[in-house]
Symmetry: D2
Subunit: 359 residues, 4 copies
Amino acid sequence: MSWNSFGRVFRFTTWGESHGPAIGVVVDGCPPGIALAEADIQPWLDRRRPGTSRFTTQRREPDAVRILSGVYEGHTTGTPISLMIENVDQRSKDYSEVARAYRPGHADYAYDAKYGFRDPRGGGRSSARETASRVAAGAVARLVIPQVRVRAWVEAIGGDAIDPANFDDAQIDANPFFCPDAQAAVRWEALVDDARKAGSSLGAVIAAEARGVPAGWGAPLYAKLDSELAAACMGINAVKGVEIGDGFAAAALSGEANADPMRPAPPGTGGGPEFLANHAGGIAGGIATGQPVRLRVAFKPTSSILTPMPTIARDGSATEIATKGRHDPCVGIRGVPVVEAMIALVLADQALLHRAQCG
Amino acid sequence: MSWNSFGRVFRFTTWGESHGPAIGVVVDGCPPGIALAEADIQPWLDRRRPGTSRFTTQRREPDAVRILSGVYEGHTTGTPISLMIENVDQRSKDYSEVARAYRPGHADYAYDAKYGFRDPRGGGRSSARETASRVAAGAVARLVIPQVRVRAWVEAIGGDAIDPANFDDAQIDANPFFCPDAQAAVRWEALVDDARKAGSSLGAVIAAEARGVPAGWGAPLYAKLDSELAAACMGINAVKGVEIGDGFAAAALSGEANADPMRPAPPGTGGGPEFLANHAGGIAGGIATGQPVRLRVAFKPTSSILTPMPTIARDGSATEIATKGRHDPCVGIRGVPVVEAMIALVLADQALLHRAQCG
Amino acid sequence: MSWNSFGRVFRFTTWGESHGPAIGVVVDGCPPGIALAEADIQPWLDRRRPGTSRFTTQRREPDAVRILSGVYEGHTTGTPISLMIENVDQRSKDYSEVARAYRPGHADYAYDAKYGFRDPRGGGRSSARETASRVAAGAVARLVIPQVRVRAWVEAIGGDAIDPANFDDAQIDANPFFCPDAQAAVRWEALVDDARKAGSSLGAVIAAEARGVPAGWGAPLYAKLDSELAAACMGINAVKGVEIGDGFAAAALSGEANADPMRPAPPGTGGGPEFLANHAGGIAGGIATGQPVRLRVAFKPTSSILTPMPTIARDGSATEIATKGRHDPCVGIRGVPVVEAMIALVLADQALLHRAQCG
Amino acid sequence: MSWNSFGRVFRFTTWGESHGPAIGVVVDGCPPGIALAEADIQPWLDRRRPGTSRFTTQRREPDAVRILSGVYEGHTTGTPISLMIENVDQRSKDYSEVARAYRPGHADYAYDAKYGFRDPRGGGRSSARETASRVAAGAVARLVIPQVRVRAWVEAIGGDAIDPANFDDAQIDANPFFCPDAQAAVRWEALVDDARKAGSSLGAVIAAEARGVPAGWGAPLYAKLDSELAAACMGINAVKGVEIGDGFAAAALSGEANADPMRPAPPGTGGGPEFLANHAGGIAGGIATGQPVRLRVAFKPTSSILTPMPTIARDGSATEIATKGRHDPCVGIRGVPVVEAMIALVLADQALLHRAQCG
């Protein structure tokens, strides 16, 4: 089934292909009276925009967002917010090769198996270009939950991880890798450059944190906060793994080592308890505890590589294919604003759901 | 919000608390005409049943399932299938301690923060007992997709992993750990026994595989097969991480190393291409490729431990709490049939969704 | 598709057949902390219960409801509320006739066309017995919106309508017809008795009103309050028409005659404007205006009649069928508590949805 | 809550205000491989387009639809179909009067009560202009169910009904009233002209029929075919009543008079039984019987009238308001293509749902 909507009461629906006239998203269920203009959305899109450094695809897209509905005199009206981004740089390229044979690791074969045919231009609907719509919707979501600060960064590229001791929040937006470790950023420059020149690609790990999530958001079972975050992040192109809190590391721990003991908040701080650790990533039983929500996301290397790979053609015969043309040498980098957006979208939805049931 | 339903067209809703009179599940959207009796469900419940070895909780529950609707003369009618399991062993215990203070790592504090109060008896709704309902529903799901074989096993306990070279499918049901490596099973016996005697607990990693999933099941974006599987597994009690295919390991690979090259199927085998690797875990662009669907799930150690932990009481004051009474020293073990059930439930839903759109 | 759930955030799922062991409903999304016991639900079920007068089916069902989950120490916990009603009087009857041939006007043929077979015992899932589950769920819904008073009554039976001048609220529960006009109730006694003795049946019109619905509940487009009410009521067995406010009569009016002029509320009354008419039935643009919500529902005569009717057998051959056994001579009568329940369920859902978006 | 999506697996989401830059709809879940171009949609929009006769609003909108996604080389790809219609004739008018006071019968007051403010330009989101999006989506739905023919017409205006004896299908598109009775069309010309000149308005009844709906489409309970149709039609602007088959007339009948007896289909015709009547409107137990699906819809008179009406201002004070400017003297007329579209949308959804569950 085609299912292009996400969310339960704060919902969005995306549409559009890589090389169609435009892409877009309809955000539904947004509370009324929130100040919203294109200028609130554009900066987030600019962070994801391609072509801003030599480490991302060279497709040149201004990604200028336009609000088509749902806003009157600068405020949301409570009716659907339609956001549109025109595709500008659809290079007139020959897609007959991609149409003829399946690129390993791409969605080519799976789409054909499902639908019987596909739009081969730039990956069609399976293009990471769709994530611009998520970032635009996420910018709206952030305004719904102003008390929450969502932040993501790249933690490792091609297996080369940051040193947590070097973590500096100010660095994240100071280099083209969203890297909080200045030294790692220097290393990655060479690493990604080499991959780019070789027509190769690299995987990445992204870490993210949401601060200010009130204890109580979430749900006990099938809309658990962690379950929703997992769905949201695993649905991003190229993502193959999601961890909440300590994730897989927790599976190697004892109960004592994994505990998050509590003590009363110091006088005058108000609010909930103080936690002495956060192995749980801020979520227990599917519900936020008030600690920072923490998660990690694994991006595989882009499947688009210059090395010819054995594959089959649409007619079933054996062939080889190499992916020429523009692509991200490390698609995980531009995943940072997308992960942030998806987290914001989940949290905005959960905020409204919590209010629905618990007032 | 309370959200106790899962699925899009093949849907189920669970209900019930650990120490209420019963738990249950309503399965809706099941195709008509499928042979179904309690005997088709009970064996799967028996695999999850507590008290079958000293390595699981000593609560004695027969977990006898009863079909209350949706079946006539031994076949599904297409109307909702109501399954009920009575709670038998609700030991009359004093829950005042649990009601008074929050157990670190449990959902106690989060529930109170959300709802203002909670049912403290045996964890109430947050108890792993709820997973019996999932297993019952999963048994129905399996019958909807008889062409698929879903299989899970424990891959590591407390950081001690199996040796893939020793993998023997026949071993999985031959030891109390669902362990495919006979040597590891021997080691785990000591490992888990030590934890149990010490009143401690251990995390675990579960791996799972679904064979026979046809290429084409899944969805391109917000109901991606991997996204649905991630939501389904992350929603199981104690799960903190989900990987599809190579998962986080893929993030350290180059595009060449992560490729799944294809070649034509050998003559006479029919069907789709032969893949030379399966880093993707059988899913590309959210859609099944026809390869085995593979995933891994991280279970944290049970939060219930005998060692007293600093915590706060409901009145906000500092205190300590230790969890006495029956619990699983390694809740991941009994997670095996639950993971299998959730995979089957996702696949049955996707099978019907695919048929809806693509005939 | 089988779709046995209703509601968006306050949701319920019903299950069960007329002659299975039990029927039931799972209510999900209920706010926590609401006082709830069986005694809050039973009186509403008793109003719908069969066999209370000679004007309803003689099936004897105590319809005793049991709360299986979601309540702790007399209050809702915010987790799913499972309600079960055992079927007691499943008379051991020969259903071979019903299984062999299709009763005109019943769902027999349609079920077979859809599912390939059906449960013929007492109508199986298509039995009006399922409405007991709705009434039970509706009793919970009422507690979610204590500020609202939902009231329904029978306005006409077999074309014989009440005289609005005789309307007396106190009469509604004083006769077996939920008839607010004492004179009409006397006439109906003869009317329904004649139909009953003749093995015939009669249609009915039910009117309903919800007072205390705040202006603002509802939604502008695809979950319009009137649209949801229409879906809710048209989904009740035997219903063939729904009107909001003046309904079809409004189609014969001019804009001037149909207007609901407003003037300021008298000083000291607080709240919204005073309306000089209520042609709209309390809903404009899908949103409540604060006036009483008014609707009317048409019930067809029960299809079960003693007069033999031409029909076809399952093998396609021509035959005749008469419906012997117990049935309601006027199913609309017992529709009163069901209509009330469905209205309460819609309003509780809309109340929570409104709070989700608008705080 | 704002809820701007409709459908379960064949779903659409509309957006846009009367006087924003554009309106549109995203159609999701459409099967792949269906031939689709703007030319397949435009004719249906042209039927609904304003300004085509003096009997509709004089707003001049070309209503030119543009396909922005989901189609490749002239065929649907199975991904979301984004359709956009630019607003051209947003006459620069002074809306301060409408912004200042509430027009009785309009959604003005209800929107303000819900959202705290609203877009007053041309009715904003509550404008009937939104129905163009439905008609566009409905055109796609028709292509999903080519075996079904959906047809609607006006049956009465201002209480003046057609004579069924004069019914002539060919007349429906031969006059500006979608009137199948040529004599009534002549009468209505005067009737509507008088209302128009007087600045008044008239209600209307629309009847509709879907032929070719296979027995089996539909659902037994909360997605009953009749329930879905009721929701779909009651959600159209100005609709106050919906009847399936005989509707309210059935409530005055006996069971014998309301029966739809069956007999075997004549040899050689194949398919299902022959029905000797169709009181049920082609639906029994929520499921199609194979007979034509028949329904009637009541449209109230447009609330926009020249006669000043007592009302209140936003500040709560008493005032009067008259609606100047362009409007439909009988909004029901242009409701014909909208009702058809909604029926097609429900049936396409039910067709896919039926295929999901029953193959």
